[in-house]
């Protein structure tokens, strides 16, 4: 150990969306806060959206899979036993730096799946309890959208007007209207106007590879500058190895490792883990010399949910300029979100209408079919037929918790600091497969109703594990859950989890809105009750 720093009131591990919310509120409340982030700052100019190579660099440099990206700040993930690859990004802003900024509140039914559908577990609180916290974080993120969404009891209001839906959105809406199905202009954490530290969106359509225009709501722009001004100490290129605890099972701080391999101890009264649904349980498991902490229930690392994703591409016989953003979601649909047992599965999925990207999206030269299909004269024919004329309905299906879907620590694979890599054990359930089959069939109908001359189904995309949830589940019972409804560990009273790990269920929604809202609810409860938090001597 190269040294022990001065103690602080609170440590936040991870500088992504949940860590940003936690640190911002804690420092405003007068606590001294140290944030430890394994990645670095990424400035807008680093992203290639405005450069011709943007489709090239998304294949490696900005790929969401850490195993493909292979940066020193990434930890590798053993996916040999998983149907889906988990996706993430290490940096100030976390995976939001390369997210699509799809901003979706969970539906009211998502919090009551046991009561309504007899599966999984209800949440300890309801939609109405969380609604004020949604509004709070939406105001910070500058969410754009149209009030009055008929899928929500309160219409899911947004602080900024909706982004344009363009030719693609109008074409998709036409098909949905012909079928009498629900759709709504997309809600996105992308400002349609200049907003605080965010530039106005320019519809470049490269959101998923990082916004080169500073126009996507990411915590490096929405939260960290203000938090640092308020006194947060943010350490980058700093990888947490373990949470330290005393003999009374109280957290005393964390050990972190710098890029030179030096170990440091940061003491603190409170430790908050915000390292995502893989990184947080990994940290808990690595603590106490690898024996793990906070795991009386045996649920640390279990119930991993990753939202298997499918898509339907439709091709039309007219120019739709389908490389234009946002990307981002242009439209959403919740027509088939709720349970209908006649379909043969429980729960449902949210659809998002997306543009199709640049010309590379229509070149299939990676060995799935004969080269003569992908190259030669067919290359030109394919591009001419599809480029600018295609768009996608993406399908995010609710992934129900299963204790056998879990992470463990690898016995052989390590990161660049020598720490054990996570090993993913994950099987797509029969319920999910039936759900995706049903939804892709409906999405084909939607495309055909819109006039598509060709459709193509992608039944399950392996690189789709954007949404990492459930691995430190919240609940009232310490025998069956890891944290209470405010993210406080049952077994370590001054250790908190405030990321998607705490989710009892996944919903069928992109989770960032709920991750940030739950983090806000948790941290404000912590601040209110901080005098009662039992800290180490």
């Amino acid at each position: 150990m190269s040294g022990t720093a001065d103690p602080c009131d609170a440590i936040v591990v991870g500088a992504g969306p949940s860590g940003a919310v936690a640190a911002t509120e804690l420092v405003r409340a007068g606590l001294s806060v140290t944030v430890i982030e394994q990645g670095d700052w990424v400035l807008a100019d680093a992203f290639d959206g405005a450069r011709p190579q943007w489709e090239l660099t998304q294949l490696r440099k900005w790929h969401p899979n850490p195993n493909v990206r292979g940066r020193p700040e990434d930890y590798p993930v053993d996916v040999a036993a998983s149907d889906v690859n988990p996706l993430m990004f290490a940096g100030v802003g976390g995976a939001a730096l390369i997210y699509g900024a799809h901003w979706m509140r969970f539906m009211p039914s998502d919090f009551r799946v046991r009561t309504l559908d007899g599966v999984a577990d209800d949440w300890p609180f309801a939609y109405d309890d969380l609604a004020p916290f949604y509004a709070y974080v939406e105001e910070a993120m500058g969410v754009s959208g149209l009030d009055g969404n008929t899928a929500y009891p309160d219409g899911a209001p947004c602080p900024l007007p909706a982004l344009p839906i363009g030719k693609v959105g109008r074409k998709a809406a036409l098909g949905m209207n012909r079928l009498g199905w629900h759709w709504w202009p997309g809600s996105n954490a992308i400002p349609s106007r200049a907003y605080r530290n965010l530039q106005p969106c320019v519809l470049r359509g490269t959101c998923g590879t990082g916004c080169s225009d500073g126009a996507k709501a990411t915590p490096d722009r929405t939260h960290w500058p203000g938090a640092i001004d308020d006194g947060v100490r943010l350490l980058t290129n700093a990888r947490v190895a373990e949470v330290t605890v005393d003999s009374h099972d109280r957290a005393t701080g964390v050990v972190w490792i710098d890029r030179d391999g030096q170990r440091h101890h940061q003491p603190a009264g409170i430790v908050i883990l915000c390292a995502n649904g893989i990184g947080t349980p990994r940290t808990l498991m690595m603590s106490n010399d690898g024996a793990g902490i906070a795991n009386r229930s045996g649920m640390v690392g279990r119930r991993l949910m990753m939202h298997p994703f499918a898509a339907v591409m439709g091709t039309f016989d007219e120019d739709l300029e389908s490389w234009v953003g946002p990307a981002g979601q242009i439209l959403t649909s919740m027509q088939f979100y709720e349970t209908d047992l006649s379909r043969g599965f429980v729960r449902g999925a949210k659809w998002n209408c997306m543009p199709a990207g640049g010309p590379q999206s229509f070149r299939a030269g990676y060995g799935d079919g004969p080269l003569t299909d992908a190259w030669g004269a067919n290359l030109h024919e394919r591009v001419r037929r599809k480029f600018g004329r295609s768009f996608e309905w993406g399908i995010v299906g609710e992934d129900l918790p299963d204790t056998e879907n879990r992470i463990a620590l690898s016995a052989s694979l390590t990161d660049t600091s020598g720490l054990p890599a996570p090993e993913i054990h994950y099987t797509v359930s029969d319920n999910t497969r039936k759900m995706l089959d049903f939804h892709t069939a409906r999405a084909v109908e939607a495309m055909e109703a819109a006039g598509a001359v060709e459709t193509a189904i992608t039944p399950l995309i392996r690189d789709c594990g954007w949404h990492l949830m459930g691995t430190a589940v919240m609940g009232d019972d310490p025998e069956t859950s890891v944290v209470d409804e405010n993210g406080r560990c049952h077994d370590v009273p001054n250790l908190y989890v405030m990321d998607g790990s705490v989710f009892p269920t996944s919903s069928g929604m992109n989770p960032t809105a709920t991750i940030m809202a739950v983090a806000a609810r948790s941290v404000l409860a912590l601040i209110e009750n901080r005098r009662e938090v039992e800290v180490a001597a």
Binding site: Q53, E55, T150
Partner: protein, 135 residues
């Protein structure tokens, strides 16, 4: 910018690329844009992780006169061909003349503040008229 590929490798790449990307249908061929030189070198400069696979594939021996010949080589080294495909396709579609030929201005900046149009709102009215769908 120094060359990542040797003269012999670039010559082999040019042969392969012209089979993979022939001219016609109003589109330039790989040779028309001199893909094996400047464009491919630029791609390898931006993403040097592709170089080893490309070089390995280019070193495969065998007569290459048709696309079927390329396919036969790809059976011997699928990973190397995948890297070659990335380099050829990106070098081609990053070229300004190619983009112009397919009517692609690139990921250009546009004004998002126009928001929803009257046409968009009219399309949405039936959804509003059907009322709430939440449970």
């Amino acid at each position: 910018m120094s060359h990542a590929l040797t003269d012999a490798e670039r010559e082999r790449l040019a042969t392969l690329a012209d089979l993979m990307v022939p001219g016609g249908q109003g589109m330039p061929s790989a040779g028309d844009i001199d893909l094996a030189n400047g464009p491919a070198e630029e791609v390898l400069h931006i993403d040097p992780t592709r170089l080893a696979g490309v070089q390995r594939f280019l070193a495969l021996e065998g007569m290459v006169e048709t696309l079927a010949d390329v396919e036969a080589l790809a059976q011997k080294d699928a990973d190397g061909f995948a890297d070659l495909g990335v380099v050829v396709a990106n070098a081609y579609f990053m070229d300004a003349a190619v983009r112009q030929a397919i009517g692609y201005p690139g990921q250009e900046a546009r004004d998002a503040s126009i928001g929803l149009t009257d046409e968009d709102r009219a399309l949405l009215q039936p959804v509003i008229d059907r009322g709430a769908i939440h449970r």
